[in-house]
């Protein structure tokens, strides 16, 4: 037999992946500290990394951050679920029906072109200062990237394979489950990577427009009434870590679902 490519996925030792990551992190923190020291900034402008770290630990242990985090995480989870689910359906419709594309895509693009920051107060007005308005904003911001990536993914399914399925008398449903879903999956997951990070942005923006609880509210409170700038930074760090964690979840799901495809 000729040209058999064997599995040569270079299984690197864990140290090879982690050392550069840790090194880059250390460099970033040192640079931050250097700016604080050299620039001589007071803590209410730019607190030093160790100040923020201390405040972060304290904020989590004394229960300042947790209720706000739970509120934001709930908004993100529900917004993601609703937004992504609707986007999958819409993306499929856009890919497979010229009519749907002609009718729906102008609104889709218009909604995306309108800054969410401008829409947020309006949505808060309509849906109240509670959970609902944030879920709507999250869903809205997640919708576009996931819908577009679904559309692109479904369209990218090889027409030769579709003809094959037809010659084997596959039903519409079988074509969906055996060709379109697996074929579109890499693209959909690419859209989800963008979607999850945007969902966090959506939740924070929504909270700014009016909320009683959430990490966005905490930023406002820390900056305004408490004038606790280290707490504000600690909240920002929490938001960043949350975003990274969500992103990593998608990457792991991707590896789980698509991993065996890599030759």
């Amino acid at each position: 037999m000729t040209a058999i490519t064997t599995r040569t996925s270079p299984r690197q030792p864990a140290s090879a992946t982690f050392v550069p990551v840790v090194a880059a992190f250390v460099v970033a923190v040192v640079a931050w500290k250097a700016i604080v020291v050299i620039g001589g900034y007071p803590p209410f402008i730019l607190p030093a990394p160790e100040t923020v770290a201390t405040r972060l630990v304290k904020g989590w242990t004394d229960g300042t951050i947790l209720p706000h985090f739970v509120a934001t995480a709930t908004e993100v989870a529900l917004g993601l679920a609703v937004g992504a689910a609707l986007a999958l359906v819409a993306g499929y419709g856009l890919a497979r029906s010229a009519f749907v594309e002609r009718v729906v895509s102008p609104y889709l693009v218009a909604a995306q072109a309108t800054p969410i920051l401008a829409l947020a107060p309006l949505l808060a007005l309509w849906f109240g200062a509670g959970l609902l308005s944030k879920v709507v904003i999250c869903a809205l911001i997640v919708f576009f990237p996931v819908a577009v990536s679904t559309m692109v993914g479904v369209r990218s399914v090889d027409v030769g394979l579709l003809e094959l399925a037809r010659s084997l008398r596959a039903t519409r449903r079988q074509i969906l489950t055996t060709l379109e879903v697996p074929g579109a999956l890499p693209s959909i997951l690419g859209g989800m990577r963008v979607g999850v990070t945007l969902a966090v942005v959506g939740a924070i923006v929504g909270e700014w427009a009016g909320a009683e609880r959430g990490l966005g509210v905490l930023i406002n409170v820390a900056r305004g009434s408490l004038f606790d700038i280290p707490l504000m930074f600690a909240t920002l760090v929490t938001i960043a870590i949350f975003g990274i964690a969500l992103y990593l979840v998608v990457v792991l799901v991707e590896r789980r679902l698509l991993g065996p495809r890599q030759p």
Partner: protein, 260 residues
């Protein structure tokens, strides 16, 4: 192997005409083509580019309704794809995310076969195309020739009475192509299906077929039908001899007339 040697089906294409719209005009592609494949017979379809060979195969597979004419398999009209007809495309058309085994079993899965029956049939098929050792491999790990063997096994999965092959090995190198043609001969011997195979190669047509049908250039018409009186089993020597045979010359002359 379950092969109580089945007999192939009788495929009849009668007065097939196909035209495609092109702007305001229609482009006639096939114009009244009659081809019959007798049970167990292998017919090669040869013709210049644009003679509608692939289109004719699509019509025979029930994928494309003709503008005129009928297709029957053992007397039954074919108007849509049927399990009685197996199709091998020019490209392997494997599902890249599936393994060899699940690609071969794909038609069984779509047809709703229960798992135990599927597993048993799969073992036979992999054995038939000698891919038993590669069951867990993905298409990207296989050579071009192996991929086309997977496609062949998949086409045979539902025990078709007729196999339609659209230049199945044209993308492969010459040596692999020769070897696969020999395997194809064995396969036909083992399964006894009838076959209609589109090819560009005159020696290949002589090696494989019992009869060669020559199509004219667009719109395609049958300009000649030449029997291949070469005894079976055929070997690579047959192929070598075929290159300079009187039959090859006869086919070539018809082809040149057809293209003119």
């Amino acid at each position: 192997m379950s092969d109580s040697k089945r007999t192939g089906g009788r495929l009849e294409l009668r007065g097939i005409a196909v035209s495609f719209p092109r702007g305001r005009d229609v482009l006639p592609v096939l114009d009244g083509v009659d081809v019959t494949v007798a049970p167990g017979e292998v017919v090669a379809l040869i013709g210049p580019n644009g003679s509608g060979k692939s289109t004719l195969l699509r019509v025979a597979a029930g994928l494309l309704p003709p503008n005129a004419g009928t297709v029957t398999l053992d007397g039954e009209r074919i108007t849509e794809p049927t399990a009685g007809v197996g199709l091998v495309f020019q490209e392997p058309r494997l599902l890249p995310w599936r393994t060899v085994a699940t690609n071969v079993a794909y038609p069984l899965e779509l047809a709703g076969w229960p798992r135990p029956r599927r597993t048993a049939r799969l073992a036979e098929l992999l054995d038939l195309v000698k891919l038993t050792e590669w069951t867990g491999a993905r298409p990207a790990q296989l050579s071009g020739g192996m991929r086309q063997r997977v496609a062949l096994a998949r086409a045979l999965a539902l025990e078709p009475r007729v196999l339609l092959l659209d230049e199945p090995f044209s993308a492969l190198d010459a040596l692999t192509r020769e070897r696969l043609n020999l395997e194809l001969l064995e396969l036909w011997h083992a399964t006894g299906t009838s076959a209609l195979v589109v090819t560009h190669s005159i020696p290949e047509a002589i090696l494989l077929a019992d009869r060669v049908v020559v199509l004219s250039s667009r719109p395609g018409r049958v300009v000649a039908e030449l029997p291949v009186d070469v005894p079976r089993p055929r070997t690579l020597a047959t192929l070598d001899d075929a290159v300079v045979s009187p039959l090859a010359r006869a086919i070539r002359e018809r082809l040149e007339d057809a293209a003119a």
